[in-house]
Subunit: 350 residues, 2 copies
């Protein structure tokens, strides 16, 4: 197996130290999974910035957005020897039956003229807003459709994890469209244009018991309301994508069909990337799927970090046959890798 992507030499291209915290008492633990887009001759990344209070010896603390608290944020602070404190993994803990994220994520713009050297803005671009984003906003896809940028992201709150939508034209003013997919759902990737008159989106609802963490495809007349939900890809027992799968950035229209890069995780939560090829006219029809990963955590910064052995993408820039992918490595740093689209299609052995 050979990977379809080539890492850029400058990796990682952004680290937590490159971004200013929201407040002086906070520390940025991770930069993750950026959306990517072109705007006014520049490349923009919409980073997921995960921060928490500077940790004190013997305590764990995490921020929660709360409009009723001073500054719109309150800090949940629990003694580490509290018998009711339980850690699931570095990303989640629970206390007295309630679940919390260990960090609070917001979205922040970073700009570049060469696609490698990025400068982040000084302040958050989009914080979670309202009761359905009190645990933050994460992993934002950005797609230009019908004259607007549409942002689809993971909205987290005590009510569950769903897909939020925001649109903008100028990256200065934003329209919030609420949750377009109810919980439990994430990894929502809009198609760049209509197919047969309808908008399409890939997304990843999760089920306990019957069902799993599968990729679904749905359609919409207006991008805001969604229906005709159908499962198009399952996890594959014993393979690299045995436990959960989810779409990356927008599918790319090729001569062979819609090429969708997706992530897959195995039982050890090792995250790799693969590809799905969907019929150009009927995207519910899956034409091909990677048997082996087209990209996997091999570099040191992909194997070790806040949550190691992870490569996760939800942003790329397409230029003819050339795709520049942006991805989060080990849930801590931002990286880039490039590929030939034809080269990715060839790995699918059509």
């Amino acid at each position: 197996m050979s990977e379809a992507f080539t890492r850029v030499d400058a990796n990682p291209i952004m680290r937590p130290a490159d971004v200013r915290p929201t407040r002086p008492d906070m520390v940025i633990e991770c930069l993750l999974n950026p959306g990517a887009f072109r705007y006014q001759g520049k490349i923009g990344l919409l980073l997921r910035v995960a921060e928490r209070p500077i940790q004190e010896e013997g305590w764990v603390s995490t921020p929660v957005l709360d409009p009723t608290s001073v500054g719109g944020m309150r800090v949940v602070r629990i003694r580490k020897d509290d018998p009711e404190l339980q850690y699931t993994d570095p990303r989640i803990f629970s206390h007295q039956g309630k679940s919390y994220l260990t960090t609070l994520s917001h979205l922040r713009l970073a700009w570049s003229t060469d696609g490698i050297n990025f400068v982040a803005e000084d302040k958050p671009t989009l914080l979670g807003a309202g009761s359905h984003e009190s645990f933050g906003v994460e992993d934002c896809r950005v797609e230009w459709i019908d004259g607007r940028y549409y942002l689809t992201y993971t909205a987290v709150s005590e009510f569950g994890i769903g897909v939020g939508m925001i649109s903008t034209i100028d990256w200065q003013t934003f329209d919030r469209h609420g949750l377009i997919m109810p919980p439990h759902n994430k990894d929502c990737s809009l198609f760049p244009k209509r197919v047969g008159g309808a908008h399409f989106a890939l997304h990843r609802p999760s089920s306990q018991g019957i069902g799993g963490n599968y990729i679904w495809l749905s359609q919409s007349p207006d991008l805001l309301h969604w229906g005709d939900h159908r499962c198009i890809a399952l996890t594959r027992p014993g393979m690299w994508d045995s436990e959960r799968i989810g779409a990356g950035a927008a599918p790319i229209l090729t001569d062979a069909g819609w090429l969708a890069i997706y992530h897959g995780a195995d039982k050890k939560s090792r995250y790799c990337l693969g590809a799905l090829l969907l019929d150009a006219q009927d995207p519910y029809r899956v034409l091909a799927r990677s048997r082996t990963p087209i990209f996997e955590p091999l570099a040191p910064y992909e194997k070790t970090g806040f949550f190691g052995n992870v490569v996760f993408t939800n942003g790329h820039i397409v230029d003819g046959d050339h795709v520049t992918m942006y991805y989060g490595a080990s849930d801590e740093v931002i990286c880039s890798a490039t590929a030939s689209i034809q080269g990715i299609l060839e790995t699918l052995h059509l």
Copy 2:
């Protein structure tokens, strides 16, 4: 606490023996949770009929819809001493990591002129169809909207449990609209008319980890595509509705707002009914909610059966201030109870 509803003397009004199995080798184990509607001067119930093969000593067997099998159905048959066979409860088992329902449900019409004596049709009205209903169709709400009957029901398959929609005018020909809510979702109840130009629906997505089994409200321009999903009611720790809640039949417009009857279950899976009152103009606003049940399993046929201590409703007929509720008791028989709508509102202590 006194109940808002009065049981009819004829309860249970329908039992499994009142309905003919789909095939001679099948037995009807349960009648459950009917939708209810008026049509051509009659009362119609759309029963959920749960059946399985006549069970053999030492084996468990359950049907799965499969268009590639003879007759469109195959039977999964497992030895009871198979170490990989695991029962969750009387409704679900798993084998070799795959989950199955113990029965296969279809929907069947039953008709009455007095609302109490019902005669079921000889054959299934609606069987699960397509890959997303291979484990059956369940708990169908029926509502007359804009000149059509809209059916919203639980669609079960290996891909998960979602909300399917079918519409009809004449109960002879049916239009299938696919899944309108992706998994994990059920208990979808359409509002009988638009509010502020939009259609509304209550539904019950489920989450593991962050989130729970809560009631959500969403809106739609066309009943087929849904957005602006918001959580409007949580489970309440320590109360009768501590574990899961879900909407019943269509909310009823009253002078005080939209009255929605819902079910709630506690840790022991005892199912009772309560009421939510939503603002007439802005149904996302919850005005009141039952502290104690307005109906609970007390009669012998509600306390004992296939899955005891359950009253569950998703069908009613409204006539002025009078509501005739149809409900499933102990997941086995169909019952009816009546109430004054004003009387239900009074239990909310407005």
